[in-house]
Amino acid sequence: MNYKLLVNIAKALLLARWRQTMVAAVGVTFGIAMFIALQSFMTGLNKLLDGLILNRTPDVRLYHEIKPSNRQPINESPFYNRNYNFISSLKSANARLEIYNSGTILQSLAKDERVRGFTPRITAQVFFNYGNNDINGAITGIDVQKESLLYSFTDYVVEGKASDLKNVANSIILGKGLAERIQVNVGDVVSITTSTGDQYSLKTVGFFQSGINEIDKMQSYASISTTQKILGKPGDYITDINIKLKDLNIAPEVAKEYAQLYSTDAEDIQTANAQFETGSRVRTIISYSVGITLLIVAGFGIYNILNMMIYEKMDSIAILKATGFSGSDVKKIFLVISLGIGLSGGLLGLFFGYVLSSGINHIPFNTSALPTVKTYPINYNPLFYVIGILFSLITTYLAGMFPARKASKVDPVIIIRGK
């Protein structure tokens, strides 16, 4: 089959009506450009919002919850073990929040292949003294280096230096909202009261802003050793272990496994944030449906133009068929025309989509909720460009198929007789 000839004929027919062709191609260009821009913007936003949660949330969190034991004496007693025992108003006897054997757990986690990293944490409830008032708050003891690595902790420190937490003894980084409430600046000393009544003075080395106001008004960070000191606990005292896995999706099984292995409580990210995936999915569906709608509209434009072209070129089709071009040759010519419009329009669409999305990427977007973000987020995923060009080819193919079929069925006898 002489495809070069068919393409040549298609090209000549296209260029003969280049204005109409351009209008059709512009339709595709517009559709694809909008699709790319929308997808890039939407998924950029998705990633940002997911990041808000994912950056701060461990995939698996090990902790020890204060709760009554599952094994109650009455159930153990042989006398009552055939009965169904109802026990109400159970209270926990052992009020320890710490994870038992934390040293061993940390060692075995370091060897686990599935684990990307983990950070030990201590949470402590404290009061911040502000004149005569005590303001409720929390100190989380962290390992700054590990936190920065796994949860980009430094990104959220808006004033001061995160590393000072380690380098300066008895130091604290306050939430921005909290600092405003108790009116301290970087370098000032804050005094705190622990739940057991002890008082401590800590030096403020920085502020952080998480983007979630509630947290910023309550939360503060200190190093692990400082926190242990405040609580009067030994060096192996740890209340949480936050684990990041290499693969987020195995979090539920891993959580279950660890809960058994280390006899602690374990919570996975899917359980902790069940709603966040739903949100991303809905946004993705919206942007796909908008893109597809635009392309369908462009497809109808192509359909119309090809139909018109066929009526105009009846004579040409008739003579091509008379001189030896078969119906399928004619069909191919019109499909090539359609795909040509799709390809040129689509490629231009990719270009303009890129331009448009990088334009959006330069629009300032300052919000106190997201300290690290200065412009609207864009996700430059090459996959969107692949999908975009495939979409443009598929829609133009479908739009061209019916007119092409019609052209292939033109009976040259009827045309030639009519002259």
Binding site: L5, A12, K321, S326, I416
Partner: protein
């Protein structure tokens, strides 16, 4: 030397009428030998054009048998017939049917490019040669819409000749032309039969044209009245 190029055997055709089918052609049987210049004449509506479309394989809805170069056309698929037309039949219609998007040369080259037997250069060479033979080589790079009616028809003849077909079929080739151009076209046909022993089948109602051909087939009401 009598080689049969085209043979029609008992060809009949009906058109669906209001109540009963109307018989357009009935029992047409004749054959054309190589090098013959045949004119089919008859009043308009006598079925001569219909016959031409059947003989040229464009119309496949008929009874009887059609043999081109001893090959029966019955039962052939659309793309096979297209191939046969491309290789063995040249067309000249009343209207020129040139593609305005292409130059004269490309228009002439088109059927040969479809045949795909020679390279692009060879085809261009052959096309130029045909144009030269018809005395219009200087028009090769013009667009068809810049040409006069007579010139267009000569380009159409060049296009019909490009694949050296066994037979050229013409439907009122002079119908749109004035006397002078008609004569030019006739002279070309005559030269073709003499110089390259080209077989020609011309449907016309121009009796002065037909009288100058070697053989006249006269039709009336779907029948051949004289061979």
């Amino acid at each position: 030397m009598n080689i049969t190029i085209l043979e029609a055997k008992h060809i009949s055709k009906d058109f669906p009428g209001p109540s009963v089918p109307v018989r357009i052609l009935s029992d047409i049987t004749f054959s054309i030998n190589k090098g013959e210049f045949v004119a089919v004449i008859g009043k308009s509506g006598c079925g001569k054009s219909t016959l031409l479309y059947i003989l040229s394989t464009l119309d496949t809805d008929y009874e009887g048998d059609l043999l081109i170069g001893n090959e029966n056309m019955r039962g052939k698929k659309e793309n096979q017939l297209a191939k046969i037309r491309n290789e063995k039949i040249g067309f000249v219609f009343q209207f020129h049917y040139l593609l305005n998007e292409f130059s004269v040369l490309r228009n002439v080259m088109l059927p040969a490019q479809k045949l795909n037997k020679y390279t692009e250069q060879e085809i261009a060479q052959m096309a130029l040669q045909k144009l030269e033979m018809l005395d219009i080589s200087k028009l090769a790079h013009k667009k068809p819409n810049q040409l006069s009616g007579g010139e267009k028809q000569r380009v159409a003849i060049a296009r019909a000749l490009i694949n050296s077909p066994q037979i050229i079929m013409c439907d009122e080739p002079t119908g749109n032309l004035d006397k002078k151009n008609s004569e030019i076209v006739f002279d070309i046909f005559q030269r073709l039969t003499k110089e390259i022993n080209q077989t020609l089948l011309v449907v016309t109602h121009d009796t002065s044209f037909a009288e100058k051909t070697q053989r006249i087939i006269e039709m009336e009401d779907g029948r051949i009245v004289s061979l």
